[in-house]
Symmetry: C2
Subunit: 289 residues, 2 copies
């Protein structure tokens, strides 16, 4: 539950972007996004002072890459299972009113995985009542995060390089010339999702080339097909190891629509969740604890 | 069986390289390799005349990308199942003593696939008695070819972008900085092959990054692990759809060793085959028919 809180500043501080929220009594009263991601910042102390000069001389709670080796200071990962209380208990304090929220790590099933920044949004979605305490969440992007939430805590999670791989294939190598088109969640996209059921990505990718050589698919559809194949591979692998019928997606509408279609093509339901509300709910809950 | 043939020139004419063989009475009497691949050639007629000036004014049989849209002239794909007799019956004649061997296409299982150049070597391996007429062959490389041979003909085949994907990951994106090390078929490579059993490539790839963040694998082993993961993904997908216990590998010793270890780690046997002898046997058999 999101309860009342005193005024404070929440900063979602990523690699390339940063969003600052001024929160008062559990409400966002002002928010701004800029390109002062951690890679653009040299002196975090003076940047933080700049934020306070702009938004108010208040306590500050930060999340994201600001707590990584390329950030202000390293906030060590909290091992899963972990909830908002575990994050709150493991804040890295810069001074008595400035803290960084730690990320979460896992070694479930022998595969190491890490997240940093996404955890506030994902756990916040539960805190805000946007998703059930026991549920499967998906946060698509360059590195797509999938979280098994149990009793409102991150029980386990998996990161897939789905977005990064697609961007790489569009830019480099054999398929790049074919993948310049717009990605739409239509028939070609769904065809790619169906192909992904084979769980044979490197061969399915070559099929895009072969389809061109044999003239069996309009090349204008190649990008949509490839996107369906990559997102479908991600979704198919995840659905194979979960019992949940519904996937809760935290994403912008475009990526959210693609993942929704992939999930539904593979026989489950998808629900879109407002991810900014989720972050705010999560950071307020950490602040309250 | 390789029978006697008159003198002729065989040219294995690929994208970036070209190998010329002077064959006499079924034996290679002279061979040379250069970088006159099809992308380096503008006037194929004059290049062919150059080969004849150097090796003798003889009939010439070419295979590979020389028969593609970026080559001399397009030799249309012969659909699988196809054997050497089918290729011989579908030569593209430039003139009455100059011909291009066609590639092979397939649509088996709804996935389009093509090969051009590899077919002579793969079918030649059977013709030379190096592999049984009913067998599973693997030709690793940038685009790894897997062939189900039935009664000495290509019954079906699959191409995986294994080598290209590995090269791309080493050069671009998040993992590039970790993958500069040497690839060896040791413990880290086998660990990658085991991980590949999950058939969840995009997530397993992110695990390489997470392993670094959590310090659970020496980063000097990351390239071997990644190679094991990619080759293992390729091998695991193929072994899932074949009944053969032995894979016959046509490759250079380094790549051959990696695929052998992956195949054996996943529970089957691997046998290395001399690929140059296979090409020569194949082209002689086509010439004889």
């Amino acid at each position: 539950m999101v309860s009342k809180a005193t005024r404070f500043l929440a900063v979602d501080w990523g690699t390339t972007n940063r969003r600052v929220f001024l929160i008062d009594q559990g409400q966002v009263v002002r928010t701004e996004r800029d390109d002062r991601g951690v890679t653009a910042v040299e002196d975090f102390e003076s940047d933080a002072a700049g934020i306070r000069a702009q938004f108010g001389d208040l306590p500050m709670l930060m999340a994201g890459m600001v707590g990584s080796t390329v950030g202000w200071r390293v906030a060590p990962y909290v091992p899963a299972p972990a909830g908002l209380a575990d994050l709150a208990a493991n804040l890295l304090w810069i001074d008595d009113r400035t803290a960084i929220v730690p990320g979460i790590s896992t070694m479930v099933g022998g595969r190491p995985d890490v997240m940093r920044g996404e955890e506030v949004q994902l756990l916040g979605a539960v805190a805000a009542g946007l998703v059930p305490p026991d549920s499967l969440l998906c946060q698509p992007g360059t590195h797509c995060k999938w979280v098994e939430m149990e009793a409102g805590r991150v029980a386990d999670f998996t990161t897939a390089m789905t977005g990064e791989l697609f961007a790489m294939l569009r830019k480099h190598g054999l398929l790049a010339a074919q993948l310049g088109g717009e990605v739409r969640p239509g028939a070609a996209f769904r065809e790619g999702v169906e192909e992904a059921r084979r769980r044979d990505l490197t061969a399915s990718l070559f099929g895009i080339r072969a389809a061109k050589m044999l003239g069996v698919r309009d090349d204008a559809d190649a990008a949509s097909y490839a996107s369906g194949l990559l997102i479908g591979s991600d979704v198919a692998a995840r659905l194979a190891t979960t019992g949940h019928d519904t996937v809760h997606i935290l994403a912008d509408p475009v990526l959210g629509a693609l993942y929704s279609v992939a999930i539904e093509t593979l026989g489950r339901s998808a629900r879109l969740v407002d991810s900014q509300s989720a972050f705010v709910a999560g950071i307020i809950e950490i602040r309250n604890q």
